[in-house]
Symmetry: C2
Subunit: 367 residues, 2 copies
């Protein structure tokens, strides 16, 4: 529910700073040494809202190339960015051809069957596409055997308007993993067969691996949204882009002998003030935060106590002055994705894309 | 995206069987020995869609009482069930009073400040409310001290139209936990002070604890949606209500020496066929399923191999005959909430409410 006739504090709040996303995009561009940068906006722009994020990047950061996972996402994106270049990573299926053509959406072709489907469909190589070569993640893309076959099949290559060739790194979040270099070498060998065609290998982690990995186009996702693929080394210029605040529904005094929450897993050692906050696992704040999460209020980090409920958490607020109706930060500038990931063992990616619908969403774009 | 001009297989599919939810509601009624049953429809009806679920329960199962977490949910619900009784569990705040009155929504009053706010607001006890007494979960509700004070304050009680008194069990999913009996005894003592006013204690777990816990109204949530608060003992008449199917984007052959997915965590011991499916953690299928999840296709359970990606999983389909474009079941009749919870260590509640937006939703209501 994002609008309607109700007071703004009727539910918890998600504030998204579009200006920070724009600045992170520009920082990615700099981290990649000025190479052109696309934007990964699949999964509703990592949960931040594709309909707000993509136009902001197009209009305010001159981002021209966007990647989404599937055709439904592409069509939603097309409505809000009529002039963007849109690639669909999942590839193409027989019933989808007309949609790609009619809405000027580019498929990323992932195997020879998809290559043939698109080549047969496109009259005189009029419609651009990307070719995805798998170099080891074994998820999507032409296998080494198919790659060799494709390279040698001049007839089919002639029929295609190949606007981009790409591959995807399996271990880019770990700079020391030898698989990165192996994938780089394999992709270099492939790009050598496609002179003049732009090539792309690097996701956020790949950008941080350095210039060898940048080729002609980088494809940041996590970095745009303030995450950090390499915890401990904050990338230059990347900042948090969103803030989740919950409201205190009630504050209660508990004492030794009491328990808090489902399963009665938390017992106070001495009298404490416990605040019940209006966010729970149904909002993406999962039970991995049970007795481990931290929230920020009154200038302090405060511990989540007991189990996370569907719609609520309990927080020990004994050490600060705060009242029912006040807000606390669950994620944002003080409780970063990196910190939340560390205490919960959820990945930053999961926490980010786990942000749910049940928030009052506020978008800011201060110039 | 739930509608629009795109083919149905442009994204994965979530099929919700409203008839099964109706039947589960009726089974709850029977499990509770014919006591009146409300429906918990907070968190967008546990992810299943409040705008579809609540009218189905109202119109086809004569459910009259609904509970939601917050005012925003209540207003959404009011639009689709104009004649339902709606309670808001989170209580009431100063800026919300008019909304409750105007839309005939009932607050669950959780402390004496809320009691006073509502009593002062309501002219001549015209507007009904519920009173929540905490009996040990220490989350919401009047504390024992406040409870005693409230019971003795005839003046304030006179000003209120108390339609329901309630409490909430902390350990109802564990029938052997002595806290259940303690909460029951405490709640019984309270109900004795409110003759003639309906009382409610039991959530889904409480329904299964037996008649002592049922009082005048039960409040099932998980059971309505096919979950089971007491794994191993399937409650009579409760059936799965939804099915998530993903589409195979591509099938590839891998051999010893290859790895699959991010971090290269899975290595085949012999040649295998690996299918890439269009569902990932952004759809609520979290990384706790890495190398542990099971999907169902071709009459068999098949293992998830490697890490779950944002938009994809990989499944070993060597043992069945299946092709790109075909569907597999991730959750449903064969891969139940209970099974998925067991392999992932996520709670059934989290898996259910974790069902995300990026599905083609199909509602069925076969008579």
């Amino acid at each position: 529910m994002t609008s309607g006739d109700f007071p703004p504090d009727a539910q918890a709040t998600l504030t998204i700073d579009l200006r920070a996303i724009i600045e992170n995009y520009k920082s990615c561009h700099q981290l990649a040494g000025g190479i052109e940068s696309a934007a990964m906006v699949k999964a509703d722009a990592y949960g931040m809202g594709i309909e707000q994020v993509a136009p902001a990047l197009f209009n305010k950061a001159s981002c021209r190339i966007f990647f989404v996972a599937n055709l439904a996402e592409a069509l939603k994106l097309r409505r809000v960015t009529p002039h963007a270049i849109i690639y669909v990573l999942n590839g193409i299926f027989p019933g989808h051809l007309d949609y790609f053509a009619r809405h000027d959406i580019r498929p990323v072709l992932n195997d020879l069957a998809q290559v043939k489907l698109w080549a047969d469909f496109c009259p005189e190589k009029s419609l651009p596409c990307a070719i995805h070569f798998d170099t080891g993640i074994n998820r999507l893309g032409l296998s080494p055997t198919e790659t060799a076959q494709f390279i040698n099949d001049g007839a089919v290559r002639q029929k295609l308007n190949i606007a981009l060739i790409m591959s995807h790194l399996a271990c880019s979040d770990d700079s020391k993993n030898p698989m990165n270099r192996k994938q780089l070498d394999d992709f270099k060998a492939i790009t050598g067969q496609f002179p003049g065609i732009p090539a792309s290998l690097a996701n956020s982690g790949g950008i941080l691996l350095g210039p060898d990995y940048h080729f002609d186009l980088v494809r940041p996702g996590l970095l745009l949204f303030g995450g950090n693929p390499r915890p401990g080394h904050r990338p230059k210029g990347i900042k948090p882009v969103f803030r989740i605040t919950g409201k205190i529904l009630q504050i209660r005094e508990v004492a030794p002998g009491d328990t808090v929450g489902y399963g009665a897993t938390w017992h106070p050692g001495k009298p404490r003030h416990i605040a019940t906050i209006n966010i729970g696992y149904a909002d993406g704040y999962l039970q991995m935060f049970n007795n481990r999460g931290r929230v920020y209020a009154g200038g302090k980090e405060l511990p989540v106590v007991g189990r996370v409920s569907m719609d609520m958490i309990a927080v020990d607020v004994t050490d600060i002055t705060i009242s029912a109706g006040d807000d606390v930060e669950l994620l944002g500038e003080h409780i970063t994705l990196e910190m939340a990931s560390e205490v919960s063992t959820l990945s930053q990616y999961e926490i980010l894309t786990g942000v749910r619908e049940r928030y009052q969403r506020i978008y800011s774009l201060n110039d």
